[in-house]
């Protein structure tokens, strides 16, 4: 058995797990075990793939034995392997969190027999998108994860979730349709949907057609990644879902969009035509997102806005078009997946301890649960970019790569990036000082400059009953905090890895040679 034959397992294992979880839906204990086992197996396969790719080079798997332009290829290069491992870690942690929640609450709130199979199908979709070597396969991966996410975001079918879900679903439908239309146009222009083959033939078609295809693909991916003018839907739809669902959506779904933008910018359209517009978009995403975050009283909404804002940093790295930029963006994606998920999990715990996620009503959490305070503060400082943490390292690498270009727009972006990280820090430290530092009996009639200009979430719910935090939920969140710290401790090897990713991506010939080892069959 060669390592190549492990590649499809990344998609097959979660799908098999989903099937068995559905069969076991009447036996909750067995269902939980099957789901956890499937994700652990995916994580193991992912680690083996990462190790193999790192030691003996990237893998290309021809499904069904059909050679590249005719059959479907699955490609695992260093970027894909890295994303698969990080996603598997995040998905496993969030799964343990939701198992803990389900055990504690007795599954009253949501029909959990549906939750686990859907969660595994979402996993299959995300991982399929990461290893797709074919634009249409990427589309199918997107659809798998989107359909699963439609079910997860409307879980339980309450009025609020249906309303939030409707926005999300209609926006996703439009983006999928744009993606499908651009696949059709690419096939019409180039006669192929294989990414490596597209990359080889792109220079044969007129430049204006290239720009048209490029813009259409970027719009489709931009909606998924929540890039500025297309990000309006995210803060309205994510916060209403259950805490674990929001955590995994925030961590992974937007990053699948960013990953696709990286592929589009490096392999499909390696030229610099759209780099300047992308830089402007990155600037606007950062600034507009964080300004939204500063005005929010609800922690989940606030985090959703910082999520949008930090997508801007990744787009900045991609838009530079240099190996350093792409490498910094890769490190930043890994950092952001981990940290953003941790913060949403912590917000879920805050909701349990405090009964709400509005900073107007929370107080005394530090006294109530010092461990939760630590688990919120560390990722919050990390996201804000305080020096020892990975947020600082990622931003520093991005700013260095931007400064190398010595363009005026680049310096503007560095300034804006620094300002945005300060504002992120401001928004999160405000949550800290109000929800954790302020004592519980000060909450009523509290007046402060900090609460001025802060708006509550639309149709905010009343304060719920406070519930205890099960150990499993604490352990899952704590584990994610430790992974976040590990990103600093192992920053050296991780940066070495992302440097190779950056160099590989900036020479598309490596990707093409991987899929067509003999120089192509049809030429």
């Amino acid at each position: 058995m060669t390592p190549t034959s492990l590649v499809p397992l990344v998609v097959i294992l979660p799908l098999l797990g989903a099937a068995s979880a559905l069969i076991l839906s009447r036996r909750p204990g067995a269902q939980r075990l099957a789901t956890i086992a499937a994700l652990v197996a995916v994580l193991v396969v992912g680690c083996i793939l990462l190790y193999t790719v790192q030691t003996s080079g990237p893998l290309a798997m021809e499904v069904g034995g059909w050679a590249a332009p005719f059959g479907i290829v699955l490609v695992v290069d260093l970027l894909s392997a890295l994303m698969v491992v990080v996603s598997a870690v995040v998905l496993l942690a969030v799964l343990l969190f939701s198992v803990g929640q389900g055990l504690a609450d007795g599954d009253h709130e949501t029909p959990v027999s549906i939750f686990y199979p859907t969660y595994l199908i979402l996993t299959a979709g995300v991982l399929n998108a990461f290893i797709a070597g074919d634009l249409f396969n990427l589309y199918v991966g997107f659809e798998i994860l989107l359909v699963a996410s439609y079910v997860l975001i409307t879980l339980g079918g309450t009025e609020q979730r249906i309303r939030a879900g409707t926005t999300y679903i209609v926006v996703s439908l439009v983006s999928s349709m744009i993606f499908l239309v651009s696949i059709a146009l690419i096939y019409g222009a180039l006669g192929t949907v294989n990414i490596a083959d597209i990359s080889r033939r792109m220079s044969e078609i007129p430049a204006d057609v290239q720009v048209l295809l490029h813009v259409m693909l970027l719009i489709a991916f931009g909606i998924k990644a929540a890039v500025f003018p297309l990000s309006f839907w995210l803060p309205d739809s994510y916060p209403t879902a259950p805490a674990p669902v929001t955590a995994v959506f925030a961590g992974l779904l937007t990053k699948v969009g960013v990953y696709s933008i990286i592929r589009a910018e490096t392999v499909i359209f390696p030229g610099p035509e759209l780099n300047v517009p992308l830089m402007v978009v990155a600037l606007l995403t950062m600034v507009v997102g964080v300004l939204g975050a500063v005005a929010q009283a609800d922690i989940k909404r606030l985090l959703s806005f910082t999520l949008v804002s930090h997508i801007g940093y990744m787009i900045l790295g991609v838009s530079l078009g240099t190996a350093d930029g792409t490498s910094a963006a890769t490190y930043y994606i890994v950092h952001h997946i981990i940290v953003q998920t941790t913060l949403f999990l912590a917000a879920g715990l805050i909701e349990r301890v405090g009964g709400t996620t509005s900073i107007n009503k929370l107080g005394g959490l530090l006294a109530a649960s010092p461990i939760l305070a630590a688990m919120f503060l560390i990722p919050a400082l990390n996201l804000g970019g305080i020096p020892p943490f990975s947020g600082f390292l990622g931003k520093l690498a991005l700013f260095q790569a931007t400064a190398e270009q010595q363009s005026p727009l680049g310096y503007v972006l560095i300034g804006a990036g620094a300002l945005v990280s300060l504002l992120t820090l401001y928004a999160l430290v405000r949550v800290w000082s109000l929800a954790f530092w302020r004592s519980a009996d000060e909450v009523d009639g509290y007046e402060s400059e900090l609460l001025r200009n802060v708006t509550e979430a639309p149709n905010a719910t009343a304060v719920q009953q406070r519930r205890r935090m099960p150990r499993l939920m604490l352990a899952a969140t704590g584990g994610m905090v430790l992974v976040g710290i590990a990103l600093t401790v192992f920053a050296g090897p991780l940066f070495a890895l992302s440097d190779i990713v950056g160099e590989n991506l900036e020479s598309p010939a490596i990707y093409v040679d991987l899929v067509f080892p003999s120089g192509g069959a049809d030429d």
């Binding site: 332009p69 005719f70 249409f136 199918v140 659809e143 359909v147 439609y150 079910v151 409307t154 079918g157 009025e159 249906i162 309303r163 879900g165 409707t166 679903i169 209609v170 439908l173 439009v174 349709m177 499908l180 239309v181 696949i183 059709a184 146009l185 096939y187 019409g188 222009a189 180039l190 006669g191 192929t192 949907v193 033939r201 049809d522």
Partner: protein, 149 residues
């Protein structure tokens, strides 16, 4: 590249109607709009079949009317299945939100006449029976009118 003009016109009309419907507020119209746009896209993929670019299975010896490009057909089949699944989900979503909006109206407010009926006020019964006979074509049995929950 030769494309059938009929297909192009049909596609354009489908896109126009679909986009118009998707911009409506009602979810049912959005669903119909999504189906139209989906089918327009399927037509677009079908039109992209054939000679332009070099399709994977084309060896340069067969003439255009003797062959058929299988890849767009496979793509369209997949796209149709996905559209089908998504519209099934959308129907369920629409039904659920319709149920939720109905639930709001099912919560009856306290009706003064109803309370009076339960207390045994015969005058109200006579009045109610009269009014139903005037406004409704359904016959209302006299005894049942008082015992309704």
């Amino acid at each position: 590249m030769t494309a059938s003009l009929t297909l192009i016109v049909v596609m354009a009309v489908l896109y126009a109607c679909g986009v118009y419907l998707m911009l409506e507020r009602s979810m049912t119209r959005v669903l119909v709009g999504f189906l139209l746009v989906g089918n327009a896209t399927n037509l677009l993929i079908i039109m992209m079949a054939g000679q332009p670019g070099v399709s994977p299975f084309y060896d340069g010896t067969t003439t255009a009317d003797e062959m058929s490009d299988p890849l767009p057909q496979a793509l369209v089949l997949t796209a149709i299945v996905i559209t089908f699944a998504v519209s099934a989900f959308l129907l369920a979503l629409i039904y659920r939100s319709w149920r939720l909006s109905q639930e709001g109206e099912d919560d009856l407010e306290d009706d003064v006449d109803d309370i009076a009926l339960r207390a045994g006020d015969k005058g109200v019964v006579a009045e109610l029976v009269d009014s139903t006979q005037v406004e409704s074509e359904f016959a209302v049995p006299d005894e049942d009118a008082g015992s309704r929950p």
